[in-house]
Point group: C2
Chain length 311, copies 2
Protein backbone atom coordinates (compact mmCIF):
# COMPACT_ATOMS: atom_id res chain seq x y z
CA UNK A 1 0.00 0.00 0.00
CA UNK A 2 1.62 3.25 -1.04
CA UNK A 3 0.54 6.77 -0.19
CA UNK A 4 1.50 7.84 -3.71
CA UNK A 5 -1.58 6.03 -5.03
CA UNK A 6 -3.68 8.93 -6.40
CA UNK A 7 -6.83 7.53 -4.80
CA UNK A 8 -5.26 8.11 -1.39
CA UNK A 9 -5.54 11.64 0.00
CA UNK A 10 -7.44 12.51 -3.19
CA UNK A 11 -8.39 16.00 -1.99
CA UNK A 12 -4.80 16.96 -1.18
CA UNK A 13 -3.26 18.85 -4.11
CA UNK A 14 0.22 17.75 -5.27
CA UNK A 15 2.99 19.82 -3.71
CA UNK A 16 5.35 20.07 -0.79
CA UNK A 17 2.67 19.57 1.88
CA UNK A 18 1.17 16.45 0.30
CA UNK A 19 4.72 15.14 -0.20
CA UNK A 20 5.53 15.71 3.48
CA UNK A 21 2.38 13.85 4.54
CA UNK A 22 3.01 10.88 2.24
CA UNK A 23 6.71 10.75 3.20
CA UNK A 24 5.67 10.54 6.85
CA UNK A 25 3.10 7.81 6.10
CA UNK A 26 5.71 5.76 4.27
CA UNK A 27 8.33 6.24 7.00
CA UNK A 28 5.80 5.20 9.66
CA UNK A 29 5.55 1.74 8.09
CA UNK A 30 8.71 0.92 10.07
CA UNK A 31 7.29 2.16 13.39
CA UNK A 32 5.91 -0.55 15.72
CA UNK A 33 2.10 -0.57 15.53
CA UNK A 34 1.76 0.30 19.24
CA UNK A 35 3.60 3.57 18.55
CA UNK A 36 1.56 4.52 15.47
CA UNK A 37 -0.48 7.14 17.28
CA UNK A 38 -2.06 10.28 15.76
CA UNK A 39 -3.94 12.92 17.77
CA UNK A 40 -6.07 15.66 16.23
CA UNK A 41 -7.49 18.88 17.58
CA UNK A 42 -11.15 19.23 16.54
CA UNK A 43 -12.33 22.87 16.17
CA UNK A 44 -10.60 24.43 13.16
CA UNK A 45 -8.63 21.22 12.49
CA UNK A 46 -11.20 18.52 11.73
CA UNK A 47 -14.19 20.83 11.28
CA UNK A 48 -15.05 24.50 10.87
CA UNK A 49 -14.98 26.75 13.96
CA UNK A 50 -16.31 29.95 12.33
CA UNK A 51 -18.32 32.10 12.68
CA UNK A 52 -18.84 30.31 16.04
CA UNK A 53 -17.87 27.05 17.70
CA UNK A 54 -20.39 24.29 16.96
CA UNK A 55 -20.56 23.55 20.68
CA UNK A 56 -21.47 27.17 21.39
CA UNK A 57 -24.27 26.91 18.80
CA UNK A 58 -25.50 23.86 20.72
CA UNK A 59 -25.33 25.70 24.03
CA UNK A 60 -27.20 28.72 22.64
CA UNK A 61 -29.86 26.42 21.18
CA UNK A 62 -30.28 24.76 24.60
CA UNK A 63 -30.41 28.19 26.21
CA UNK A 64 -33.18 29.33 23.82
CA UNK A 65 -35.20 26.23 24.68
CA UNK A 66 -34.57 26.81 28.38
CA UNK A 67 -35.82 30.39 28.18
CA UNK A 68 -38.85 29.37 26.09
CA UNK A 69 -39.71 26.76 28.73
CA UNK A 70 -39.27 29.30 31.56
CA UNK A 71 -40.55 32.53 29.98
CA UNK A 72 -41.48 34.32 33.20
CA UNK A 73 -38.27 33.61 35.04
CA UNK A 74 -35.71 36.35 35.57
CA UNK A 75 -32.78 35.34 33.38
CA UNK A 76 -29.26 35.83 34.72
CA UNK A 77 -27.07 38.47 33.06
CA UNK A 78 -24.98 35.74 31.36
CA UNK A 79 -28.06 34.48 29.49
CA UNK A 80 -29.45 37.87 28.42
CA UNK A 81 -26.01 38.89 27.12
CA UNK A 82 -25.69 35.69 25.11
CA UNK A 83 -29.22 35.74 23.71
CA UNK A 84 -29.02 39.38 22.65
CA UNK A 85 -25.77 38.64 20.81
CA UNK A 86 -24.18 41.50 22.77
CA UNK A 87 -20.53 40.52 22.40
CA UNK A 88 -19.33 43.47 24.50
CA UNK A 89 -21.57 42.39 27.38
CA UNK A 90 -20.41 38.77 26.97
CA UNK A 91 -16.77 39.91 27.07
CA UNK A 92 -17.41 42.06 30.13
CA UNK A 93 -18.93 39.12 32.02
CA UNK A 94 -15.99 36.91 31.05
CA UNK A 95 -15.83 33.49 29.42
CA UNK A 96 -15.41 31.65 32.70
CA UNK A 97 -18.74 32.87 34.12
CA UNK A 98 -20.48 32.45 30.77
CA UNK A 99 -19.18 28.89 30.50
CA UNK A 100 -20.27 28.02 34.03
CA UNK A 101 -23.76 29.42 33.41
CA UNK A 102 -24.10 27.38 30.20
CA UNK A 103 -22.78 24.21 31.86
CA UNK A 104 -25.48 24.71 34.50
CA UNK A 105 -28.15 24.17 31.81
CA UNK A 106 -27.23 20.49 31.72
CA UNK A 107 -26.88 20.00 35.47
CA UNK A 108 -28.39 16.70 36.62
CA UNK A 109 -28.66 15.10 33.17
CA UNK A 110 -27.60 11.49 32.78
CA UNK A 111 -24.81 10.83 30.25
CA UNK A 112 -27.37 9.19 27.93
CA UNK A 113 -29.68 12.24 28.07
CA UNK A 114 -26.86 14.69 27.39
CA UNK A 115 -25.66 12.61 24.42
CA UNK A 116 -29.21 12.41 23.07
CA UNK A 117 -29.55 16.21 23.23
CA UNK A 118 -26.31 16.68 21.28
CA UNK A 119 -27.35 14.17 18.63
CA UNK A 120 -30.81 15.69 18.24
CA UNK A 121 -29.23 19.11 17.71
CA UNK A 122 -26.63 17.81 15.26
CA UNK A 123 -29.25 15.98 13.20
CA UNK A 124 -30.90 19.20 12.05
CA UNK A 125 -28.73 22.26 12.83
CA UNK A 126 -27.21 24.21 9.97
CA UNK A 127 -24.20 26.45 9.48
CA UNK A 128 -24.89 30.07 8.38
CA UNK A 129 -23.75 28.92 4.91
CA UNK A 130 -26.77 26.63 4.77
CA UNK A 131 -24.62 23.50 5.04
CA UNK A 132 -25.77 20.99 7.68
CA UNK A 133 -23.56 21.37 10.78
CA UNK A 134 -22.76 17.69 10.66
CA UNK A 135 -20.97 18.22 7.34
CA UNK A 136 -18.70 21.12 8.22
CA UNK A 137 -15.94 18.51 8.58
CA UNK A 138 -12.93 18.88 6.29
CA UNK A 139 -12.80 16.29 3.50
CA UNK A 140 -8.96 16.19 3.26
CA UNK A 141 -8.69 15.51 6.99
CA UNK A 142 -11.28 12.70 6.79
CA UNK A 143 -9.19 11.17 4.01
CA UNK A 144 -6.10 11.45 6.22
CA UNK A 145 -7.95 9.71 9.10
CA UNK A 146 -8.95 6.92 6.71
CA UNK A 147 -5.42 6.47 5.44
CA UNK A 148 -3.94 6.44 8.95
CA UNK A 149 -6.47 3.83 9.98
CA UNK A 150 -5.58 1.69 6.98
CA UNK A 151 -2.01 1.89 8.23
CA UNK A 152 -2.96 0.66 11.71
CA UNK A 153 -2.67 4.00 13.47
CA UNK A 154 -4.58 4.61 16.70
CA UNK A 155 -6.44 7.89 16.19
CA UNK A 156 -7.55 10.19 18.99
CA UNK A 157 -9.19 13.60 19.27
CA UNK A 158 -7.63 16.03 21.76
CA UNK A 159 -9.94 19.02 21.91
CA UNK A 160 -10.44 22.16 23.96
CA UNK A 161 -14.17 21.50 23.58
CA UNK A 162 -16.29 19.48 25.97
CA UNK A 163 -15.27 15.82 26.11
CA UNK A 164 -18.86 14.58 26.26
CA UNK A 165 -20.00 16.88 23.45
CA UNK A 166 -17.31 15.58 21.08
CA UNK A 167 -17.82 11.96 22.16
CA UNK A 168 -21.47 12.26 21.14
CA UNK A 169 -20.39 12.81 17.51
CA UNK A 170 -16.88 11.32 17.25
CA UNK A 171 -17.91 7.82 16.27
CA UNK A 172 -20.39 9.05 13.68
CA UNK A 173 -18.26 11.81 12.11
CA UNK A 174 -14.74 10.44 12.53
CA UNK A 175 -15.10 6.75 13.51
CA UNK A 176 -13.19 7.58 16.71
CA UNK A 177 -14.37 5.72 19.85
CA UNK A 178 -15.34 7.63 23.00
CA UNK A 179 -12.30 6.46 24.98
CA UNK A 180 -10.03 8.15 22.41
CA UNK A 181 -11.59 11.58 22.89
CA UNK A 182 -9.90 13.84 25.44
CA UNK A 183 -11.35 17.29 26.06
CA UNK A 184 -12.45 19.63 28.77
CA UNK A 185 -14.23 17.50 31.38
CA UNK A 186 -17.31 18.10 33.48
CA UNK A 187 -17.56 15.85 36.53
CA UNK A 188 -20.36 13.38 37.24
CA UNK A 189 -22.00 12.52 40.52
CA UNK A 190 -22.76 8.91 41.46
CA UNK A 191 -26.32 8.70 42.81
CA UNK A 192 -29.02 6.04 43.22
CA UNK A 193 -32.65 5.89 42.07
CA UNK A 194 -35.69 4.76 44.10
CA UNK A 195 -34.84 1.11 43.35
CA UNK A 196 -31.32 1.75 44.70
CA UNK A 197 -29.85 1.34 41.22
CA UNK A 198 -26.83 3.49 40.29
CA UNK A 199 -27.43 6.63 38.22
CA UNK A 200 -24.83 9.13 37.04
CA UNK A 201 -25.80 12.80 37.06
CA UNK A 202 -23.91 15.55 35.29
CA UNK A 203 -22.58 18.35 37.51
CA UNK A 204 -21.41 21.79 36.40
CA UNK A 205 -17.97 21.38 37.98
CA UNK A 206 -15.01 21.29 35.64
CA UNK A 207 -12.52 18.47 36.32
CA UNK A 208 -8.97 19.81 36.17
CA UNK A 209 -8.08 22.54 33.68
CA UNK A 210 -9.53 23.40 30.28
CA UNK A 211 -7.84 21.12 27.74
CA UNK A 212 -5.65 23.70 25.99
CA UNK A 213 -1.91 24.29 25.68
CA UNK A 214 0.33 22.28 28.05
CA UNK A 215 -2.81 20.65 29.55
CA UNK A 216 -3.33 18.86 26.21
CA UNK A 217 -0.01 17.08 26.75
CA UNK A 218 -0.50 16.18 30.42
CA UNK A 219 -4.07 15.04 29.68
CA UNK A 220 -2.84 12.88 26.79
CA UNK A 221 -0.48 11.19 29.23
CA UNK A 222 -2.94 10.71 32.08
CA UNK A 223 -6.06 9.86 30.06
CA UNK A 224 -4.61 8.01 27.05
CA UNK A 225 -1.10 7.03 28.15
CA UNK A 226 0.24 7.05 24.59
CA UNK A 227 2.46 9.51 22.80
CA UNK A 228 1.61 10.76 19.31
CA UNK A 229 4.04 10.71 16.39
CA UNK A 230 1.53 12.77 14.40
CA UNK A 231 -0.31 15.74 15.89
CA UNK A 232 -2.54 18.20 14.03
CA UNK A 233 -3.94 21.52 15.17
CA UNK A 234 -4.61 25.07 14.10
CA UNK A 235 -4.06 27.37 17.05
CA UNK A 236 -1.84 28.34 19.96
CA UNK A 237 -3.77 25.91 22.15
CA UNK A 238 -2.29 23.07 20.06
CA UNK A 239 1.31 24.26 20.19
CA UNK A 240 2.58 22.03 23.02
CA UNK A 241 0.82 18.95 21.57
CA UNK A 242 2.50 19.49 18.19
CA UNK A 243 5.88 20.00 19.88
CA UNK A 244 5.26 16.82 21.92
CA UNK A 245 4.81 14.81 18.70
CA UNK A 246 7.85 16.38 17.03
CA UNK A 247 10.11 15.61 20.01
CA UNK A 248 9.73 11.84 19.58
CA UNK A 249 12.55 9.77 18.10
CA UNK A 250 11.85 8.37 14.64
CA UNK A 251 9.37 9.69 12.04
CA UNK A 252 7.02 12.40 13.24
CA UNK A 253 4.70 14.98 11.72
CA UNK A 254 3.19 18.18 13.10
CA UNK A 255 0.39 19.50 10.88
CA UNK A 256 -0.82 23.07 11.32
CA UNK A 257 -3.96 24.05 9.43
CA UNK A 258 -3.70 27.63 8.18
CA UNK A 259 -7.11 29.21 7.62
CA UNK A 260 -6.16 31.32 4.61
CA UNK A 261 -9.12 30.59 2.35
CA UNK A 262 -11.62 33.45 2.59
CA UNK A 263 -13.41 32.19 -0.50
CA UNK A 264 -14.17 28.60 0.46
CA UNK A 265 -13.96 28.84 4.27
CA UNK A 266 -12.61 31.71 6.43
CA UNK A 267 -9.40 33.68 6.59
CA UNK A 268 -8.05 34.32 10.07
CA UNK A 269 -4.77 34.18 11.95
CA UNK A 270 -4.27 32.41 15.25
CA UNK A 271 -1.64 33.64 17.64
CA UNK A 272 0.68 31.36 19.57
CA UNK A 273 -1.23 31.74 22.79
CA UNK A 274 -4.15 33.88 23.80
CA UNK A 275 -2.42 35.23 26.91
CA UNK A 276 1.27 35.93 26.74
CA UNK A 277 2.63 35.57 23.22
CA UNK A 278 1.48 37.34 20.12
CA UNK A 279 3.63 35.55 17.54
CA UNK A 280 1.38 34.13 14.81
CA UNK A 281 1.20 30.35 15.23
CA UNK A 282 2.20 29.90 11.57
CA UNK A 283 5.51 31.67 12.38
CA UNK A 284 6.01 29.40 15.41
CA UNK A 285 5.33 26.39 13.20
CA UNK A 286 7.78 27.50 10.52
CA UNK A 287 10.46 27.99 13.16
CA UNK A 288 9.82 24.56 14.69
CA UNK A 289 9.71 22.60 11.43
CA UNK A 290 5.99 21.92 11.32
CA UNK A 291 4.13 21.20 8.10
CA UNK A 292 1.84 24.16 7.47
CA UNK A 293 -1.25 23.30 5.47
CA UNK A 294 -2.64 26.16 3.41
CA UNK A 295 -6.32 25.47 2.92
CA UNK A 296 -6.33 27.68 -0.17
CA UNK A 297 -3.28 26.13 -1.80
CA UNK A 298 -3.14 22.51 -0.55
CA UNK A 299 -6.76 21.37 -0.48
CA UNK A 300 -8.69 20.59 -3.65
CA UNK A 301 -11.94 20.31 -1.68
CA UNK A 302 -12.58 21.78 1.77
CA UNK A 303 -15.82 20.29 3.10
CA UNK A 304 -17.07 16.73 3.22
CA UNK A 305 -19.99 15.81 0.93
CA UNK A 306 -23.22 16.78 2.67
CA UNK A 307 -24.68 13.30 2.97
CA UNK A 308 -21.79 11.13 4.04
CA UNK A 309 -21.91 9.91 7.61
CA UNK A 310 -18.70 8.00 8.33
CA UNK A 311 -20.46 4.78 9.20
Amino acid sequence: MSATNPEVLASWRPGAVRDAVTAFLDAAQDVPVVDRVAFFDNDGTLWCERPSYVQLDFFIDALRRHVADNPSADQPAEFTALLSGDNAAVAAIGLERIGAALAGLFNGLTPQDFTAQVRTFMATATHPSGRPLRSVTYQPMLELLDELRRRDFTIGIVTGGGTEFVRAISDDLYAVAAELVVGTLIDYEFTRDEQDRPVLRRTSTMLGHANEGPAKVTNIQTQLGRRPILAAGNSGGDREMLEWAMATEGPSLALLIDHDDAEREYQYASTAASFAEIEPITDVGTRLGWTIVSMARDWDAVFAPQSSPRK
Copy 2:
Protein backbone atom coordinates in the same frame (compact mmCIF):
# COMPACT_ATOMS: atom_id res chain seq x y z
CA MET B 1 -19.30 -19.01 16.49
CA SER B 2 -20.86 -20.55 19.58
CA ALA B 3 -19.70 -20.34 23.15
CA THR B 4 -20.70 -23.97 23.62
CA ASN B 5 -17.70 -25.03 21.55
CA PRO B 6 -15.58 -26.92 24.11
CA GLU B 7 -12.40 -25.19 22.90
CA VAL B 8 -13.86 -21.90 24.10
CA LEU B 9 -13.44 -21.11 27.80
CA ALA B 10 -11.61 -24.43 28.06
CA SER B 11 -10.54 -23.88 31.68
CA TRP B 12 -14.09 -23.17 32.87
CA ARG B 13 -15.66 -26.33 34.27
CA PRO B 14 -19.18 -27.22 33.09
CA GLY B 15 -21.86 -25.96 35.46
CA ALA B 16 -24.15 -23.07 36.29
CA VAL B 17 -21.41 -20.42 36.16
CA ARG B 18 -20.03 -21.48 32.79
CA ASP B 19 -23.62 -21.67 31.51
CA ALA B 20 -24.32 -18.12 32.71
CA VAL B 21 -21.19 -16.82 30.96
CA THR B 22 -21.95 -18.57 27.67
CA ALA B 23 -25.62 -17.52 27.81
CA PHE B 24 -24.49 -13.91 28.19
CA LEU B 25 -22.01 -14.25 25.31
CA ASP B 26 -24.71 -15.64 23.05
CA ALA B 27 -27.26 -12.98 24.05
CA ALA B 28 -24.67 -10.24 23.42
CA GLN B 29 -24.56 -11.20 19.73
CA ASP B 30 -27.69 -9.04 19.34
CA VAL B 31 -26.15 -6.02 21.10
CA PRO B 32 -24.75 -3.31 18.77
CA VAL B 33 -20.96 -3.56 18.61
CA VAL B 34 -20.49 -0.07 20.07
CA ASP B 35 -22.29 -1.25 23.23
CA ARG B 36 -20.30 -4.48 23.61
CA VAL B 37 -18.15 -3.20 26.43
CA ALA B 38 -16.54 -5.26 29.22
CA PHE B 39 -14.54 -3.78 32.10
CA PHE B 40 -12.39 -5.81 34.48
CA ASP B 41 -10.86 -5.06 37.84
CA ASN B 42 -7.22 -6.23 37.91
CA ASP B 43 -5.96 -7.24 41.40
CA GLY B 44 -7.74 -10.43 42.48
CA THR B 45 -9.80 -10.50 39.26
CA LEU B 46 -7.32 -10.86 36.39
CA TRP B 47 -4.30 -11.75 38.51
CA CYS B 48 -3.35 -12.80 42.03
CA GLU B 49 -3.27 -10.13 44.77
CA ARG B 50 -1.92 -12.31 47.58
CA PRO B 51 0.16 -12.37 49.71
CA SER B 52 0.72 -8.78 48.52
CA TYR B 53 -0.29 -6.56 45.60
CA VAL B 54 2.16 -6.88 42.70
CA GLN B 55 2.39 -3.10 42.59
CA LEU B 56 3.43 -3.03 46.26
CA ASP B 57 6.13 -5.60 45.47
CA PHE B 58 7.34 -3.23 42.75
CA PHE B 59 7.31 -0.27 45.14
CA ILE B 60 9.23 -2.20 47.82
CA ASP B 61 11.77 -3.29 45.23
CA ALA B 62 12.24 0.35 44.16
CA LEU B 63 12.52 1.35 47.80
CA ARG B 64 15.25 -1.25 48.43
CA ARG B 65 17.21 0.06 45.45
CA HIS B 66 16.70 3.63 46.68
CA VAL B 67 18.03 2.80 50.13
CA ALA B 68 20.97 0.84 48.68
CA ASP B 69 21.85 3.85 46.54
CA ASN B 70 21.55 6.23 49.51
CA PRO B 71 22.89 4.12 52.39
CA SER B 72 23.95 6.96 54.66
CA ALA B 73 20.74 8.98 54.38
CA ASP B 74 18.27 9.08 57.23
CA GLN B 75 15.25 7.15 55.96
CA PRO B 76 11.78 8.44 56.79
CA ALA B 77 9.59 6.41 59.17
CA GLU B 78 7.41 5.24 56.25
CA PHE B 79 10.41 3.55 54.61
CA THR B 80 11.85 1.90 57.71
CA ALA B 81 8.42 0.51 58.62
CA LEU B 82 7.98 -0.93 55.12
CA LEU B 83 11.47 -2.39 54.85
CA SER B 84 11.34 -4.05 58.25
CA GLY B 85 8.01 -5.66 57.30
CA ASP B 86 6.54 -4.20 60.50
CA ASN B 87 2.84 -4.32 59.58
CA ALA B 88 1.77 -2.72 62.86
CA ALA B 89 4.04 0.27 62.22
CA VAL B 90 2.79 0.50 58.62
CA ALA B 91 -0.81 0.48 59.85
CA ALA B 92 -0.05 3.11 62.47
CA ILE B 93 1.44 5.44 59.87
CA GLY B 94 -1.56 4.92 57.60
CA LEU B 95 -1.84 3.90 53.97
CA GLU B 96 -2.21 7.46 52.73
CA ARG B 97 1.16 8.58 54.08
CA ILE B 98 2.79 5.31 53.05
CA GLY B 99 1.42 5.68 49.53
CA ALA B 100 2.57 9.28 49.23
CA ALA B 101 6.06 8.35 50.43
CA LEU B 102 6.27 5.54 47.88
CA ALA B 103 4.93 7.74 45.06
CA GLY B 104 7.71 10.20 45.92
CA LEU B 105 10.29 7.59 44.88
CA PHE B 106 9.28 8.15 41.24
CA ASN B 107 9.03 11.93 41.40
CA GLY B 108 10.49 13.58 38.31
CA LEU B 109 10.64 10.44 36.15
CA THR B 110 9.47 10.70 32.55
CA PRO B 111 6.60 8.37 31.55
CA GLN B 112 9.05 6.32 29.49
CA ASP B 113 11.46 5.88 32.44
CA PHE B 114 8.66 4.86 34.80
CA THR B 115 7.34 2.31 32.29
CA ALA B 116 10.85 0.94 31.76
CA GLN B 117 11.28 0.44 35.54
CA VAL B 118 7.99 -1.48 35.76
CA ARG B 119 8.90 -3.69 32.81
CA THR B 120 12.39 -4.41 34.14
CA PHE B 121 10.89 -5.47 37.47
CA MET B 122 8.18 -7.61 35.84
CA ALA B 123 10.71 -9.39 33.62
CA THR B 124 12.41 -11.09 36.55
CA ALA B 125 10.34 -10.81 39.75
CA THR B 126 8.80 -13.91 41.24
CA HIS B 127 5.82 -14.71 43.44
CA PRO B 128 6.56 -16.42 46.80
CA SER B 129 5.30 -19.62 45.13
CA GLY B 130 8.28 -19.44 42.77
CA ARG B 131 6.06 -18.62 39.79
CA PRO B 132 7.20 -15.59 37.71
CA LEU B 133 5.09 -12.57 38.69
CA ARG B 134 4.19 -12.05 35.06
CA SER B 135 2.33 -15.35 35.07
CA VAL B 136 0.16 -14.91 38.16
CA THR B 137 -2.66 -14.05 35.72
CA TYR B 138 -5.72 -16.32 35.79
CA GLN B 139 -5.99 -18.61 32.77
CA PRO B 140 -9.85 -18.75 32.74
CA MET B 141 -10.02 -14.94 32.72
CA LEU B 142 -7.51 -14.73 29.85
CA GLU B 143 -9.73 -17.15 27.91
CA LEU B 144 -12.72 -14.95 28.64
CA LEU B 145 -10.85 -11.87 27.36
CA ASP B 146 -9.97 -13.77 24.18
CA GLU B 147 -13.55 -14.88 23.64
CA LEU B 148 -14.95 -11.37 24.25
CA ARG B 149 -12.44 -9.96 21.76
CA ARG B 150 -13.47 -12.55 19.18
CA ARG B 151 -17.02 -11.27 19.68
CA ASP B 152 -15.98 -7.65 19.03
CA PHE B 153 -16.14 -6.48 22.63
CA THR B 154 -14.13 -3.45 23.71
CA ILE B 155 -12.22 -4.54 26.82
CA GLY B 156 -10.97 -2.19 29.52
CA ILE B 157 -9.24 -2.54 32.88
CA VAL B 158 -10.67 -0.47 35.72
CA THR B 159 -8.30 -0.88 38.63
CA GLY B 160 -7.68 0.59 42.06
CA GLY B 161 -3.98 0.27 41.24
CA GLY B 162 -1.85 2.91 39.60
CA THR B 163 -2.93 3.68 36.04
CA GLU B 164 0.62 3.94 34.73
CA PHE B 165 1.74 0.77 36.50
CA VAL B 166 -1.04 -1.28 34.91
CA ARG B 167 -0.60 0.38 31.50
CA ALA B 168 3.05 -0.75 31.51
CA ILE B 169 1.90 -4.39 31.50
CA SER B 170 -1.66 -4.33 30.07
CA ASP B 171 -0.74 -4.74 26.43
CA ASP B 172 1.69 -7.55 27.14
CA LEU B 173 -0.41 -9.51 29.65
CA TYR B 174 -3.96 -8.77 28.47
CA ALA B 175 -3.66 -7.20 24.97
CA VAL B 176 -5.46 -4.14 26.40
CA ALA B 177 -4.24 -0.76 25.06
CA ALA B 178 -3.14 2.00 27.45
CA GLU B 179 -6.16 4.22 26.71
CA LEU B 180 -8.45 1.46 28.00
CA VAL B 181 -6.80 1.32 31.43
CA VAL B 182 -8.36 3.49 34.13
CA GLY B 183 -6.83 3.48 37.60
CA THR B 184 -5.59 5.73 40.32
CA LEU B 185 -3.80 8.61 38.62
CA ILE B 186 -0.64 10.51 39.47
CA ASP B 187 -0.36 13.90 37.76
CA TYR B 188 2.40 14.94 35.38
CA GLU B 189 4.11 18.28 35.04
CA PHE B 190 4.82 19.80 31.63
CA THR B 191 8.40 21.07 31.55
CA ARG B 192 11.05 21.85 28.91
CA ASP B 193 14.65 20.67 28.48
CA GLU B 194 17.72 22.79 27.63
CA GLN B 195 16.76 22.70 23.93
CA ASP B 196 13.30 24.00 24.88
CA ARG B 197 11.69 20.67 23.92
CA PRO B 198 8.72 19.47 25.97
CA VAL B 199 9.34 16.88 28.70
CA LEU B 200 6.76 15.35 31.04
CA ARG B 201 7.81 14.73 34.63
CA ARG B 202 5.94 12.57 37.08
CA THR B 203 4.76 14.30 40.26
CA SER B 204 3.63 12.66 43.50
CA THR B 205 0.22 14.37 43.46
CA MET B 206 -2.82 12.14 43.04
CA LEU B 207 -5.36 13.35 40.45
CA GLY B 208 -8.89 13.06 41.85
CA HIS B 209 -9.76 10.17 44.15
CA ALA B 210 -8.39 6.65 44.38
CA ASN B 211 -10.20 4.56 41.75
CA GLU B 212 -12.37 2.46 44.07
CA GLY B 213 -16.11 2.15 44.70
CA PRO B 214 -18.32 4.87 43.17
CA ALA B 215 -15.18 6.55 41.72
CA LYS B 216 -14.80 3.55 39.39
CA VAL B 217 -18.15 4.46 37.82
CA THR B 218 -17.57 8.22 37.53
CA ASN B 219 -14.04 7.60 36.19
CA ILE B 220 -15.40 5.15 33.61
CA GLN B 221 -17.73 7.89 32.42
CA THR B 222 -15.20 10.72 32.37
CA GLN B 223 -12.18 8.80 31.10
CA LEU B 224 -13.75 6.19 28.81
CA GLY B 225 -17.25 7.52 28.12
CA ARG B 226 -18.69 4.03 27.59
CA ARG B 227 -20.89 1.90 29.77
CA PRO B 228 -20.10 -1.77 30.40
CA ILE B 229 -22.60 -4.59 29.93
CA LEU B 230 -20.10 -6.95 31.55
CA ALA B 231 -18.15 -6.03 34.67
CA ALA B 232 -15.92 -8.32 36.71
CA GLY B 233 -14.41 -7.80 40.14
CA ASN B 234 -13.67 -9.46 43.44
CA SER B 235 -14.09 -6.94 46.23
CA GLY B 236 -16.21 -4.18 47.72
CA GLY B 237 -14.29 -1.65 45.66
CA ASP B 238 -15.89 -3.20 42.55
CA ARG B 239 -19.46 -3.18 43.85
CA GLU B 240 -20.69 0.00 42.14
CA MET B 241 -19.06 -0.94 38.82
CA LEU B 242 -20.82 -4.31 38.84
CA GLU B 243 -24.13 -2.66 39.72
CA TRP B 244 -23.53 -0.14 36.90
CA ALA B 245 -23.21 -2.98 34.38
CA MET B 246 -26.27 -4.83 35.73
CA ALA B 247 -28.48 -1.70 35.54
CA THR B 248 -28.19 -1.50 31.73
CA GLU B 249 -31.09 -2.55 29.53
CA GLY B 250 -30.50 -5.73 27.55
CA PRO B 251 -28.09 -8.56 28.33
CA SER B 252 -25.63 -7.90 31.14
CA LEU B 253 -23.30 -9.89 33.36
CA ALA B 254 -21.66 -9.12 36.70
CA LEU B 255 -18.90 -11.59 37.55
CA LEU B 256 -17.57 -11.78 41.10
CA ILE B 257 -14.47 -13.88 41.67
CA ASP B 258 -14.67 -15.71 44.99
CA HIS B 259 -11.24 -16.62 46.36
CA ASP B 260 -12.21 -19.93 47.94
CA ASP B 261 -9.32 -22.09 46.76
CA ALA B 262 -6.75 -22.39 49.55
CA GLU B 263 -5.08 -25.26 47.74
CA ARG B 264 -4.40 -23.71 44.34
CA GLU B 265 -4.50 -20.01 45.23
CA TYR B 266 -5.72 -18.33 48.44
CA GLN B 267 -8.88 -18.43 50.52
CA TYR B 268 -10.11 -15.09 51.76
CA ALA B 269 -13.32 -13.14 52.04
CA SER B 270 -13.78 -9.57 50.85
CA THR B 271 -16.31 -7.37 52.55
CA ALA B 272 -18.62 -5.04 50.68
CA ALA B 273 -16.62 -1.97 51.52
CA SER B 274 -13.61 -1.36 53.70
CA PHE B 275 -15.25 1.50 55.60
CA ALA B 276 -18.94 1.28 56.36
CA GLU B 277 -20.42 -2.10 55.49
CA ILE B 278 -19.30 -5.47 56.71
CA GLU B 279 -21.55 -7.66 54.57
CA PRO B 280 -19.41 -10.17 52.65
CA ILE B 281 -19.32 -9.11 48.99
CA THR B 282 -20.42 -12.61 47.95
CA ASP B 283 -23.66 -12.04 49.93
CA VAL B 284 -24.14 -8.67 48.23
CA GLY B 285 -23.60 -10.35 44.86
CA THR B 286 -26.08 -13.13 45.58
CA ARG B 287 -28.69 -10.56 46.59
CA LEU B 288 -28.08 -8.48 43.45
CA GLY B 289 -28.12 -11.35 40.95
CA TRP B 290 -24.41 -11.43 40.17
CA THR B 291 -22.66 -14.54 38.86
CA ILE B 292 -20.32 -15.69 41.60
CA VAL B 293 -17.30 -17.58 40.34
CA SER B 294 -15.90 -20.14 42.77
CA MET B 295 -12.24 -20.59 41.90
CA ALA B 296 -12.27 -24.01 43.56
CA ARG B 297 -15.40 -25.26 41.83
CA ASP B 298 -15.59 -23.44 38.49
CA TRP B 299 -12.00 -23.25 37.28
CA ASP B 300 -10.18 -26.28 35.91
CA ALA B 301 -6.88 -24.37 35.89
CA VAL B 302 -6.12 -21.24 37.89
CA PHE B 303 -2.88 -19.75 36.57
CA ALA B 304 -1.72 -19.07 33.04
CA PRO B 305 1.09 -21.23 31.68
CA GLN B 306 4.40 -19.75 32.82
CA SER B 307 5.79 -18.90 29.41
CA SER B 308 2.87 -17.39 27.54
CA PRO B 309 3.08 -13.67 26.94
CA ARG B 310 -0.17 -12.56 25.29
CA LYS B 311 1.49 -11.23 22.16
